[in-house]
Each structure stands twice: as C-alpha cells, then as structure tokens.
Amino acid sequence: MIITVTLNPAIDKIYWVDRLRIGQEAQEEFLTRAVRSQTSAGGKGVNISIFLARLGVENVAMGFVGGHTGHVVVRDLRDEGVTTNFVWVEGETRTNVTILERGREFIPIMVDEEGQAVSQIELERFLRRYKRMLPRASWVVLAGSLPPGVDPDIYRVLAAQAKEAGVKVAVMAGGHPLTRVLSAAPDLVKPDTREHLAMERAPLTTRDKIIAAGRKVVAQGVGMVIISHEVIGDLVIIKDSIWDIESRVPATQFKNLVGADDALVGGILYKLYTGAPIEEALRFGMAAGIASAESEEKLCKDVQEIMREMEHIALMPIGGDDAGE
C-alpha cells in the first residue's frame, strides 16, 4: 500500500478560454467567457493518489481538509477509489485556478491560494494518524506546499519516521521543506519544477549545473533525484548513474500541464512499487507525464495511451565528461 500526504490540498478549477485579455491589454472592464471548465480534487499528493488508483494500486490519501471544498476533495478521491484519511480543520480547503488560452495551453496562467492555516493540535492529530498508518505502507509520498502554520521541517520529520518504519519515501516539494528533508535521505526526490532553482541558491542554467547539484543531493544519501530541465526533459541522478530522459513530443502539443509532473512521479512509483527495473520506471513515468500533458484532462486515464507514449521516450545514460564532473 502507498500513502500519499498532501498537507495543503486544493480544488483545481481549470478554465479554457478562447482569448484572455489581462494587464496592459485590458484597459476597461472585459468579460472573459470560459468555453469549458473543470473542477476536481487537486494537490500533488492527491493527484498521485488518483493516478495510482486508476492503475489499481491500493493507496491512502492523508492530509488536512476543511469546509465545503474539503468535502469536494474527499468525495472526488473516494469516487476514484482512493482510501481517505484526512484530518478535518477549521477553515476552507483552498481553490487553485488555472486558465488555459486556446493555442497557448503550454503556458498556463495559474493563481494558487495559500491554503487554510493548521493549528498545533490539528498537526498532532495528523501525526498520530500518520504514525499508525505507516506499518501498513511500503511507500510514502510527501508532496506539495505546506499550509500556513506548519513548520518547514515537517517533511523531514515525516520522512524520518517512515524510514525508521522501513517505508520508502518519495518527496515532491520546493524551498525549505525540500532542503530540510534531504537529511532524512528519501528514496526519490522531485524538486518542484517551479522552485527547484532555489536548491542551489543560484540559477541552475545549464545541464552540467543541474547534474552537479543533483550529485550533491545524492551524496547526502538520497536515492534518486529527478530534475526537470526542459518541459519535455528530466535529468535523473542516482548513486552510480545519470540519465537524460526526454520526450520527442513538442511542447506546443500540450493541452494541459496541470498534474503532468504528478503523473510523472506517479508513473515512476507505480513501476517501482510493482518491482519493475528503474529504467522502465523512468520511461513509464515520463510517458505518463507527457500523456497527461497532451490530454485536456488533468491526468491521463488511459494506460494504453501511456504505453503508446513510451515509444516516444528516449532514456539516455550520461557518462564521462557529460556527467558534469
């Protein structure tokens, strides 16, 4: 069984529009009509739970929810076959809005709320639940931003508890929660694509710089680091190997990037969980991410589509001078 932890889940509200006028362009009141919209449970861990459930993997989604939107999150997860175990808190689960303009879907406009604050009592309530769920799990996924009031050390604490219980840990995060969790030596780390540049406190502008930063992380005991360097490419660094994994699909074909990163990690986890070799896991994960980006839906539901996408994925080992040493 896999546990996903989303401490700051959300409702993802996606609007598709023909034309969007903002900033300088909008000199007067202007109504933008959505030609389509979609509302679904969101947050990185929540998305991974839904993706895994669609592939038949038993998993439990944990975190904090509150208010009407909290019920929507829980209801969506249950409808997808995910087991829920959330702590109810005061306030309302946040709503994140994404606007996709026709022809520019690969550059989404995103407005994320900060999320409802979590008190110390609520956090303790969560920690008790988490601790009693660990013996049932083989993997834990710690994913996404933290709600206000939660110490950035929380992922390190949760990862250390999981490792002590013999449970493998995957982390998708950015900023301080990411840098602090590294000392707990998680098995898989995917820095938030939007924030991973903060890892080194300097821009990781070249492939060599990314590889060097990834090597430092692996030297701390982390099993695998996956760092996006282009929309369609990731670098994967483990102790003895480095791969460049790339899709041959142009980014302009993408219809919805929301959730694509989560499908990537979900795909890798699915394969590792079912005992596949790491190379197969990486190709499947990238294919899942690309298939999701090519679909208007947030996550690709069709396993056959993911398998077809694998034909367009290249996994290239990097060695010698290319390895950034």
């Binding site: 829980v74 995910v82 087991t83 959330f86 109810w88 309530r125 008790r128 639940r129 009693r132 049932r136």
Partner: protein
C-alpha cells in the same frame, strides 16, 4: 458482493483520549453521525455517536427523548455539554462494537444495519484494524 467492494473507503477515526469538544468538531466537519474509535495500531476499539453525547449530557431524560419537546430547557443541555466538553471520549464510547470484515458479503452487512438499526457499520481487516465503513447509502447505491 464483498463488503470491501461496496464500503466507503474512509479511515476517519478518533483516539479514545481526545476530548468531547474535539469529537463534536470532527463529527460536524466530517458530517458523520458516529465515529469509530481506534487504538495506536488502528485496531477498532469502540464507536461513539451524537446520540452517546446527548445521552452523556442528559442521562436522566434520554429514555424519554422521543422528540425535542421532552427537553425541558436547551440551556440545560448546553450547560451539561460544557461540563463534559473536556472529558476524554472513552468515558462515553460504546466498547461492544458491531463490525464486519472486508471479506463478508453485502447481505451480512445489510442484515446488521437493518436488524441493529445502525446508520453505519465499521469494516475491519483480518487484524481488527479499521479498513472502511458501510453506510446504508452504500448498500442502496450498490443495489440499484
């Protein structure tokens, strides 16, 4: 069908040492009429409901409560609730829990829900750990 196929896959539960005040918040937020109580291993050790809390606050009147008209004064209920608000829920929970196993069939679940007049029925795995809950609506949804 097996219970595991029809149940609501939710593990919302509380520990026996949480105060009544907290339980009321959780029952209200989660919109659950009753709540499983589990130990540190997730093993089901009891159930506590809204009804148990009213009974705890107004034990003398409870048997006569066929309608709210029997409550002499709502202020009285409020005062009594305030008195027990910080008590651990283990003082008021039911320990003789009726539960069902993941591998039992839906007919057994229906029988228990109807015969025992329950709103929901905790589901446990082979180790007695909470694995979900079967509600009346789960049965109706799957029968249709």
């Amino acid at each position: 069908m097996r219970v595991s196929e029809i149940m609501t896959k939710d593990l919302t539960a509380v520990e026996k040492d949480i105060p009544v005040r907290e339980l009321i918040f959780i029952l209200n937020s989660a919109e659950m009429p009753d709540m499983p109580v589990v130990d540190d291993n997730g093993v089901l050790i009891g159930v506590i409901s809204e009804k148990d809390l009213i009974k705890a606050a107004l034990p003398g009147y409870f048997e006569m409560l066929h309608s709210t008209s029997f409550i002499p004064d709502l202020n009285q209920l409020s005062k009594k609730l305030a008195k027990i608000a910080n008590d651990p829920i283990e003082k008021y929970m039911k320990r003789d829990v009726i539960s069902i196993s993941l591998d039992d069939d839906d007919l057994q679940a229906a029988d228990l829900l109807i015969r025992k007049n329950l709103k929901s029925l905790p589901v446990v795995d082979k180790d007695g750990r909470l694995a979900g809950v079967v509600r009346r609506i789960d049965l109706l949804r799957n029968l249709l």
